[in-house]
């Protein structure tokens, strides 16, 4: 019989999938009924995410709430339906629930036509997203990712903005290519190593015992890196992301940029790097250079944008660069900061897309030059937007700061990566430039002519109650992590420490600058700090 935790975990995948099935089957005859079903479909994963977050308690091999169903799967190949949360996936799971609820509420209130179908597809996507972070078995991890990815193509093609046909085609091919490469890597991992099952713990055990050539391991890591890199918009494989977010409907952008993108990074941190430490080290310079390209190159492109949604899309790709830098450094500090940044970035970027949608509803345009002075009509929206912008550019008080700062700190550890520190830190200036420029162009100053004509035709109102709820939910979570990062950091810390032990030994022995030999005695003798906790 299922315990409450297992029920919640399983339900967070099954309930949205079931809702989606009902909606596909035509149950929502009236739009209202469809919306009610959708509330359940998004509300349950949100509740599950929050409740399981607070009830989290590590098990023996680092996983909590494990649920293993052996009859459902391909046992001969070693694939089992194995669910569970560990220290790294628990905050991501909760984040997926929060962003999912916000995106779902935005979708329900979006007024799209054929809303039953739209909600069905988004519920399916949500089921996939929750499954990605809840899976322990690699096969189902990949399967749920595809569950979440494929509805995006359909939704962009049907409900998207300008260019939607060509964009849908482009990202279908591009992302399937990325998924294919990563699948090749995962399958190679399973084939070359004789593991008893396809999940992380047994794979790591088997890899430790195997004697693969280093070149083979390096090739496998390469496949995983490029495959996941395409999925997460690593430079130079990032151009699909901006076009996709520009064309996609709001909820799809929120879920894709906020949650789905983290799949690749999560895979790299959980699977690739700890299982293949030497290959991670050898690929590290390339990864660092490409990530730097993300930060600087895409950052400059963001500055050149005049369309709000393109700017937000470019900004999100730029901040993924920081996560990659954290991974590329191959130290536990870098990896744990990357995870913190992933959680916070997911929240902040989805909030930005949501607010961009609200702005578009009011100003009838996404071009920033056609807005101006909106803060007079919509002060609350302005407040939210300023908060979201400052969160994305890494102001302390929001969660992004801790992740970014940790990444910078990890870059400074070795003299070989300090070069990257100098250039990556330029990113804080670049993001401030485009972030604040957007705020000034949209909300401050005098209204532009186009906005004046819009104002003469209709009244622009401030945020309504149904609009405040999703935005407020995300902002509250961001502030919580920002002000009290120990909400999520201890469990991340424990998990990463246990996995990254091998890498850290290699890193710690390298060229750390020499420190005072007698530092320890000096400390106790002359500085009796009053430590209170």
């Amino acid at each position: 019989m299922l315990s409450l935790d297992q029920f919640l975990l399983l339900g967070s995948i099954v309930v949205p999938a079931f809702v989606s099935l009902l909606l596909f089957a035509g149950f929502g005859n009236t739009d209202n009924f469809a919306k009610k079903l959708a509330y359940i479909g998004f509300g349950f994963p949100f509740l599950a995410g929050i409740v399981l977050f607070f009830r989290f308690d590590e098990g023996d091999n680092g996983y909590a709430f494990e649920f293993l169903c052996s009859r459902f799967g391909l046992q001969e190949l070693g694939i089992h339906f194995h669910l569970g949360l560990n220290g790294v996936s628990s905050p991501l799971f909760a984040m997926a629930g929060i962003v999912g609820l916000a995106a779902g509420l935005a979708a329900i209130n979006s007024g799209a036509d054929r809303i039953r179908l739209y909600l069905a597809l988004i519920s399916l996507m949500q089921a996939g997203l929750m499954g990605v972070f809840a899976s322990v078995d690699l096969f189902f991890y990949y399967l749920f990712h595809e569950f979440a990815l494929i509805p995006t193509f359909i939704m962009i093609g049907l409900w998207g903005g300008r260019d939607r046909r060509s964009v849908a085609l482009e990202i279908t091919i591009y992302l399937t290519l990325g998924a294919l490469l990563s699948l090749a890597g995962l399958v190679a991992l399973n084939t070359f190593v004789d593991a008893e099952s396809f999940d992380f713990p047994s794979l790591s055990k088997a890899l430790a015992d195997s004697n693969l050539f280093d070149s083979t391991k390096s090739k496998i890591f390469g496949f995983l890196l490029i495959g996941f890199g395409i999925l997460v918009a690593l430079f130079p494989f990032h151009t699909w992301a901006v076009r996709a977010y520009d064309a996609a409907p709001t909820s799809v952008s929120m879920l894709h940029a906020g949650v789905l993108k983290k799949f690749g990074l999560y895979g790299l941190i959980q699977v690739a790097a700890p299982l293949l430490p030497e290959s991670a080290q050898s690929w590290s310079p390339l990864l660092l250079w490409l990530a730097l390209g993300n930060v600087l190159f895409v950052g400059m492109v963001a500055i050149a944008q005049t369309n709000l949604k393109s700017m937000v899309g470019n900004g999100s790709v730029m901040h993924m660069g920081y996560c990659f830098l954290g991974i590329g450094v191959c130290s536990s500090l870098g990896a744990s900061s990357a995870i913190m940044l992933m959680v916070a970035h997911g929240l902040s970027v989805s909030l930005m897309f949501l607010l961009a949608h609200y702005i578009q509803r009011r100003a009838d345009t996404m071009e920033m030059s056609e807005m101006g002075g909106l803060a007079k009509q919509t002060p609350l929206l302005a407040c939210f937007f300023v908060a979201a912008s400052l969160a994305t550019i890494g102001l302390p008080g929001f969660g992004n700061f801790w992740g970014e700062f940790g990444v910078f700190l990890s870059l400074g550890q070795q003299s070989s990566t300090q070069f990257f520190l100098y250039f990556a830190a330029l990113g804080i200036i670049i993001s401030a430039v485009f972030g604040l420029r957007a705020v000034a162009r949209i909300f401050f100053g005098e209204p532009s002519e186009e906005l004046e004509s819009v104002l003469s035709k209709k009244k622009i109102s401030d945020l309504s109650f149904s609009e405040i709820i999703p935005a407020g939910l995300i902002l509250f979570s961001l502030l919580l992590i920002g002000l009290w990062p120990r909400t999520i950091s201890p469990r991340i810390d424990v998990e990463i420490e246990s996995r990254y032990g091998a890498l850290d030994i290699k890193v710690a022995g390298s060229d750390l600058p020499p420190c005072c030999p007698a530092k320890e005695e000096k400390k106790t003798a002359t500085s009796p700090l009053q430590l209170k906790d």
């Binding site: 091919i173 591009y174 151009t239 699909w240 190159f297 400059m300 492109v301 500055i303 050149a304 944008q305 130290s331 536990s332 500090l333 990896a335 744990s336 900061s337 803060a375 007079k376 400052l390 102001l395 302390p396 008080g397 700061f401 801790w402 700062f405 940790g406 910078f408 700190l409 400074g412 550890q413 520190l421 100098y422 830190a425 804080i428 200036i429 401030a432 430039v433 604040l436 000034a440 909300f443 401050f444 100053g445 005098e446 990062p485 120990r486 810390d493 990463i496 750390l512 600058p513 420190c515 005072c516 530092k519 400390k523 002359t526 500085s527 700090l529 009053q530 430590l531 209170k532 906790d533």
Partner: protein
Amino acid sequence: MQPYYETEGMESVILSVLLLPLLSSVVTLLFLRKNGNVASLLSVATSGGILVFSLYIIFQTGDTVFAWEMTWLKLAGWELKFGFLIDGAARLLLFVVSFIGFLIHIFSLGYMHDDKAKPRYFGGLSIFMFSMLGITLADNLIMIFVFWELVGFSSYLLIAHYFSTDEAAQASKKAFIVNRVGDFGFLIGIVLTYWTFQTVNLQEIRNLVDFDPSLVTTTLCLALACGFIGKSAQFPLHVWLPDAMAGPTPVSALIHAATMVAAGIYLLFRIDFMFTVDALSLLATLGATMGLFAGFCALGQRDIKKILAYSTLSQLGYMSAAFGLGMPGIALFHLMTHAFFKALMFLGSGSVIHACHHEQDIFNYGGLRKKMPITALTFLTGVLAISGVNFLSGYFSKDAILLGAYNSNMIVFVLLYTGALLTSLYMFRLYFLTFEGDSRSKSAKDATESSVLMTGPLLVLAFLSVVGGYHTLFPDPIVGVLLDDISRVAAMPNHLWMVVLGTLAWIIGGGTSKLFYGRAFNGEPLEARFPTLYDLCKSKLFFDEIYGFYVSKIQDPFARFIEVMELLFISGLLVRGSAGVSALFALLAKACYAGKIHAYSFWFILGIISFVAYAIGFLGN
């Protein structure tokens, strides 16, 4: 080694000092958005509470050091602590911030009385107090950085108070971005510090440096000083401060005169043990140059607030020079006296601006002494103090700096002394044009004295500007940190000569300006007599234009260039290109589907033949 303070509960007092303004701003944000009066009273009450608690902390810790910390974040061996360090410097700045903050809150009640967005203003002031107190009380570099950025944010919020004007929108953006450039250097400095010392706690670093001075490098301390350069608007990041005058005047007084810009000097003081000789001399020269340069700029300005802003830049240069000359205590001393008279003058200008219905050009003032006697008198006190008139507060601190410069670095001394001449020149110019002579516009004619809410703080600050230099009058907990350097300076030679020179400076400056502006004139006398000099001053050496040029002609086109490159090469060549290559293969394959029976039969037979040939072994195995 100072004794440590041992008591229970001090950290809760400090925490309440820190959290009280945060709470006030949150309450304002959530509940009081429409209720301006309650918000303003709440904010003023909070600042009063802060003052009371701060005085308690100051006097309870006396001359001991109090340290406390707790873990804020722990990731993979890096442990970030949230802690407090109350030593002499902290007490001094705590006093300055809380006292002047309280006075400015009271002034704001009067100044912002008719403003429509009072809740936003007072909420912003509370956030600012929270952040500034965080910098004051912090015990490690990362915590200082956190509150550093938050101070930048509150400055952004408050400068953008009149957001419907283009001026405020651009100025707030500029302030934040230029600050961020400084923070970029600061961040790199902190990261390097962490890996050099394995800690960012100030006391621990001090002990480690004592133990092994070779750990610090010039690069390290200059990187950390980038934060100072950004926040305290030193060269080359000074361009945001004059533009920041677009915010309400009390904001300029609090943030851009007394406290936030002083945070940079405070930071330098906190890490002064990390500076190498080269870095110090660089800072001294830069500071002295800034002092002189800003003086020239102030001479060419017509807006009353911009003159005061450049004057602040100049005085910050003095503080930097004092620090660079090896007298950090004197820098703090000047910080304190400057806070008094600069806040006084900003508030005085606020009173004038409010009375003249937001007219800010001094050439449209005149004769206000008769209309606003209290404002005029207090303003005059401030002018006298900043010019270094003997026995007022500014005299003591400036005299100490000049004496130190004379005895160590002649170039710096010459720069600073010329700066002192200019200071009295432009300050008296400001005074004469505003308060003396006849009213030159209608708004000046209709001016009346401001309410007691505004003149009260003016009087208090005027009193402090007079007696602020007599450090013996102040309680020991506050000024204890200054005593070392003050006695060092008192023991220096050439003291009498310096007094003479200092007196000469303000007499010459004041006299010249009385000559030009005290009597009737047409237009701008300086422009008439010395046109090239005036144009040079007005140009401010084209820094704003250079940065504007950089942004519009270099940065933005470069960004567009990168965008085009991305479209061409990545989207075009790589993505569309690979699609094109596959299309090419598809075309080749399509050629086989000719639709003619003959072609199919031909290929079929060819296929059979090659298969048979392969099977025989003709084509190789």
